[in-house]
């Protein structure tokens, strides 16, 4: 696979890349790895060969720490056409069409140079998709940063958002969804994960296997320069300092205009049947593209170094071979089709040239000719006097790269120990906070993580190509497929806060929520792509987190019947003193057979019945409510029953297919109360509910236990809806009715908050807020958190700031 450079393995010995140390270490190779290279070659590697190994054996290209874990993932699926190991996963959707999709990270480059880091992240994942013959139809970006009030965070957010937009807008691929999350653990190491989705006619599907000795190795696209040189080794440092100018040259520079030409030229080459194989150049550049395609084909290559177009004179051979200059592709072409291939590239104003030949001998051989004037003759044979600069078996660089069995150890202290006497306080019930539930709800809606993302996604073109049925901002994105009744539904989700308590649960919940967000539109989830953002795998505790998360990912995918079709692993996400929260980012694509049956999350009409399907479980740890107000030290995250989750999702899909559902939302971030408020805000109408609060109003209103859906149903459909739920073995609870301009939630049961008495009300305790106030808090939360807007700018009546005393703690401080 190809990937943006970021997570190359550090020196196992921990030696910093400085001149005094041996060459292999300064390139990020350990002594153990040097020995392994000796065995593979049966001799001493030269400097160029060492450089090629250093990038190909980087964590990012070789998966040397994670491969043993990834082998345990479920990858089989009835409709899977291409899976792990290909440039992107591909799943058949009928009508002779297939969807190609993949998520990838560009974390470290974005921390060094946010605009270019994010932009080239988009470019790289798009190339993975169109290299397989698929036209990119959508991008989703999952972003994670530290404290939004911190100046550096604001600098990073601004640069990354501009970078994603600057690239995606120009190439004409809509950015239809994603995430923007703030948490202190990302302060020194932001996460930029980008997912791309493409549509391909199954006949056009192209793989990156260099078959046919004698075929030409063709390089087209931008010339090769010094940008991204040594990115793998330089950006490999295990401890990632804050802004480090010396690393900036290691960040690639993107040219979306060149990428747009590359898309059109590549799809034209494939449509005309002119290529045997295509692979894009990402991490490790030409070294990766040549060795991986040759390895897949069981072949080798003669690479003519002199034939590679350069941006500048005087580049060293190793610079040319490992440069990560963007917007380049390698194609394997039968000699007879070369003229046609050249014509297509030249029509798109793209430089193109033959840089080598496929050979039966399975070695990657790098050659230079006399006076660097060309190493191969027209028949692809080395010219007299040609010098061999490197010779490495392709598989030694790719499929047979070194693998480490890392040590795994659970951290000694998984959770904060209970403070003395803390257990005595029922601290997850509202009254002890002295807070009106309405104030908590308003504060949550206005918090940096739950408020509207409009200020960000309006900087992205989300409707180009005229397929966007549901764009960013309201749950999963829906993209119609022209010429059919079908639509693709896509989402990304990652639950890091729960993962910090329990990485298995965090990963399983991420899969469950992503799949649920697809299912509540009525679509059937097709498959999973994942981006595993973790810390230094040489730390047993960090590797344990990764191992547990992969286990959770696997268990959840098996329970929900979802194949994992690809993704990437980003390790060493650590800044001095802090590793990120384990963050498994899950991307899921689903299929709606008839887009007309799609259901949205906004209230549709007054007088409809609101039901909750599933049960609310205790546990506030890892919730947004905890971020706002804290929880009892002994409290844990809510539990997850994967069988129940599967039942809830198949039920809601069937209910939607039977036309029983008007609107549907899943209580997740901020719990039931926030979910209802969103449905009300988006539907521009209120609702009156009665919620049993059991022992804890906080859990009932703001708990984030999974396997629940909130559904708006026309009264005459309620009996059929409830009957269907019973058939699926699911409890339903009629909560109330839609309508009016206020959101009213009566708290029934023994856990009433007592706040009513404080308000001097005689009736049962209740939450009662105008929807307009909730919308105001929701719309202004993000720009205020980022300092793009201040309370006085909008003549705010202090609505958002109610309950801000508690809110000022944690990452969601209300400004």
């Amino acid at each position: 696979m190809t990937a943006p450079t970021e997570a190359a393995g550090p020196p196992e010995a921990g030696a910093p890349p400085v001149a005094e140390v041996p060459l292999h270490r300064s390139l990020g190779l350990s002594d153990i790895e040097l020995e392994a290279i000796h065995e593979k070659l049966g001799r001493d590697p030269n400097a160029l060969e060492l450089a090629m190994f250093s990038v190909m054996w980087s964590e990012h290209c070789s998966y040397k720490s994670s491969r043993p874990l990834l082998r345990t993932l479920p990858t089989k699926g009835r409709d899977v056409v291409a899976g792990i190991g290909e440039q992107a996963g591909v799943i058949s959707i009928g009508d002779g069409l297939a969807v190609a999709f993949k998520i990838e990270s560009h974390n470290h480059p974005s921390a060094v140079e946010p605009y270019q880091g994010a932009a080239t992240g988009v470019g790289g994942i798009l190339r993975d998709v169109f290299a397989m013959g698929a036209r990119p139809i959508a991008v989703l970006d999952a972003l994670r940063f530290g404290d939004p009030s911190d100046p550096r965070t604001r600098h990073l957010v601004d640069g990354v958002v501009r970078g994603v937009g600057g690239y995606g807008n120009c190439v004409g691929v809509p950015t239809v969804g994603g995430e923007l999350v703030f948490d202190p653990s990302y302060q020194g190491n932001p996460l930029v994960n980008v997912m791309a989705i493409g549509l391909v006619e199954e006949g056009m599907l192209t793989r990156a296997s260099a078959d046919g000795p004698g075929n030409l190795v063709v390089l087209y696209g931008s010339a090769t320069g010094r940008d991204g040189i040594g990115g793998a080794s330089v950006l490999a440092s295990a401890t990632f300092g804050d802004q480090d100018p010396s690393k900036r040259p290691s960040v690639q520079v993107g040219d979306p205009f060149a990428e747009k030409l590359l898309i059109e030229a590549t799809l034209e080459l494939i449509a005309k049947g002119l290529v045997v194989a295509i692979q894009d150049l990402g991490a490790a550049g030409i070294t990766c593209a040549t060795s991986e395609t040759a390895d897949r084909g069981g072949t080798g290559m003669l690479v003519d170094l002199d034939a590679i177009p350069r941006r500048e004179p005087g580049m060293e051979p190793f610079e040319v071979m490992i440069s990560e200059s963007q917007e380049r592709m390698v194609a394997i072409v039968e000699p007879g089709r070369w003229d046609a291939v050249r014509a297509v590239c030249e029509r798109w104003d793209l430089p193109v040239g033959v840089i080598g030949r496929v050979t039966a001998e399975p070695d990657i051989v790098v050659l230079t000719g006399p006076d660097a004037a060309g190493a191969l003759d027209p028949d692809g044979r080395p010219v007299p006097g040609a010098t061999e600069l490197a010779r490495i078996p392709a598989r030694a660089l790719a499929s047979e790269a070194i693998v480490f069995d890392r040590e795994s150890r659970p951290p000694a202290r998984r959770r904060a120990a209970p403070a003395p006497g803390a257990a005595d306080e029922p601290v997850d019930s509202l009254p002890l906070r002295g807070q009106d539930p309405a104030a908590v709800l308003t504060a949550l809606l206005g918090s940096a993580n739950l408020s509207s993302r409009r200020e960000v996604f309006e900087q992205y073109d989300w409707n180009v190509q005229s397929n966007t049925v549901a764009g960013p901002g309201r749950g999963a994105a829906v993209l119609r497929i022209k010429g059919t009744t079908k639509a693709l539904v896509a989402t990304t989700d990652g639950n890091a806060p729960v993962g910090q308590h329990d990485p298995w649960l965090g990963a399983a919940m991420s899969v469950a929520e992503a799949a649920r967000n697809v299912s509540i539109t009525g679509a059937r989830p097709l498959g999973v792509t994942n981006c595993l953002n973790f810390g230094d795998p040489t730390r047993p505790e960090a590797f344990w987190q990764l191992a547990e998360a992969v286990r959770g990912l696997s268990d959840a995918c098996i329970a929900l019947g979802l194949p994992v079709t690809g993704g990437n692993v980003s390790l060493y996400n650590e800044a001095p003193g802090s590793a990120i929260a384990p963050t498994p980012e899950i991307g899921i694509v689903g299929l709606l057979d008839d887009v007309a049956t799609r259901v949205g999350p906004a209230f549709r009409a007054d007088g409809n019945t609101l039901l909750l399907v599933g049960e609310t479980a205790p546990g506030l740890a890892g919730s947004s409510y905890e971020g706002l107000a804290g929880t009892a030290p002994e409290d844990g995250p809510p539990s997850l029953d994967l069988q129940r989750e599967a039942a809830v999702q198949s039920f809601i899909r069937e209910a939607i297919a039977r036309g029983l559902v008007e609107s549907c939302q899943d209580p997740s971030g901020g719990g039931l109360a926030v979910a209802v408020a969103e449905m009300a805000i988006w539907g521009d109408r209120g609702a009156t509910l009665r919620v049993g609060v059991g022992d804890s109003p906080a859990v009932a209103l703001f708990g984030e236990s999974p396997s629940r859906v909130l559904v708006e149903v026309i009264p005459r459909h309620v009996p059929a809806f409830e009957l269907l739920a019973r058939h699926h073995g699911l409890p339903t609870d009629v909560l109330g009715t839609t309508g009016g301009a206020r959101l009213v939630i009566e708290l029934a049961g023994n856990g009433a908050t007592g706040a009513a008495e404080e308000r001097g009300s005689g009736i049962a305790d209740a939450l009662d807020v105008p929807v307009a106030h909730l919308r105001h808090a929701w719309e202004h939360g993000l720009p205020r958190a980022l300092g793009w807007e201040h309370a006085e700018d909008v003549g705010d009546g202090g609505i958002v700031d109610s309950g801000a005393g508690a809110a000022s703690r944690g990452p969601e401080a209300i400004r």
Binding site: G166, C170, G172, Q459, D461, V464, S466
Partner: protein
Amino acid sequence: MTPRVGIVLFPGSNRDIDAVNALTVAGAEPVMLWHADTDLSDVSAVLLPGGFAYGDYLRAGVIAQFSPVMRAVGEFAARGGPVLGICNGFQVLAEAGLVPGALLRNRGLRFVCREIALLPERLDSPFTREIGTQRPLRMPVAHGEGCYFADDATLDALERDGQVLWRYAAADGRVAAPEDAANPNGSLRGIAGVANAAGNVAGLMPHPEAAVEDLIGSADGLGIIRSLVVSAQEYATTGAVTGTRALAGVAG
């Protein structure tokens, strides 16, 4: 017969997919024109789609104006043929001097993609004749350089001569002033689109071609695309288009 409408494809155009979809929905036959083409005899109207022609490096549309096809488009326009530029296409027409005014960076200095309300100024032009009733039309904008600018004398003349075809509408249906939130880019006098003096060449920043079906959010843009198709039809059969003036010679 179905009128053939040319879609000019510059390197970097990316709303060509939307244009093809819209023209098809509107009952025309889309014909792709390459930036190197010089012969437009085959089409009876030209649509310049959105995107980032030649990467929009230097300034939006500034390089595209020198491409071979733009000379042909200029001649086609001089013969009275209907030409519509959308978003980047509008920027190219303005840079080429085929429509008056200039498009500056958005007031907020950020790319903006959102649904806006577009108010047709008149319903008798070759590009608005099929809209029907005078009402705000919902359609998306998606641009970084869409702030319409011209000096006051020019703006007065444009208004006097009926060359202002569309303005951004505020929530209350009135024209959105530059500082109004409903004006996405700060365009002077809320101008979203204008025509040349002859009336047969027009450009606008919003995307009517991306609002031709309720499924993708709105069908309010269809009237503008239909107008182009009807004008193409008319030009194909009569060699002229209703609502255009005898050519003043100079475009704009």
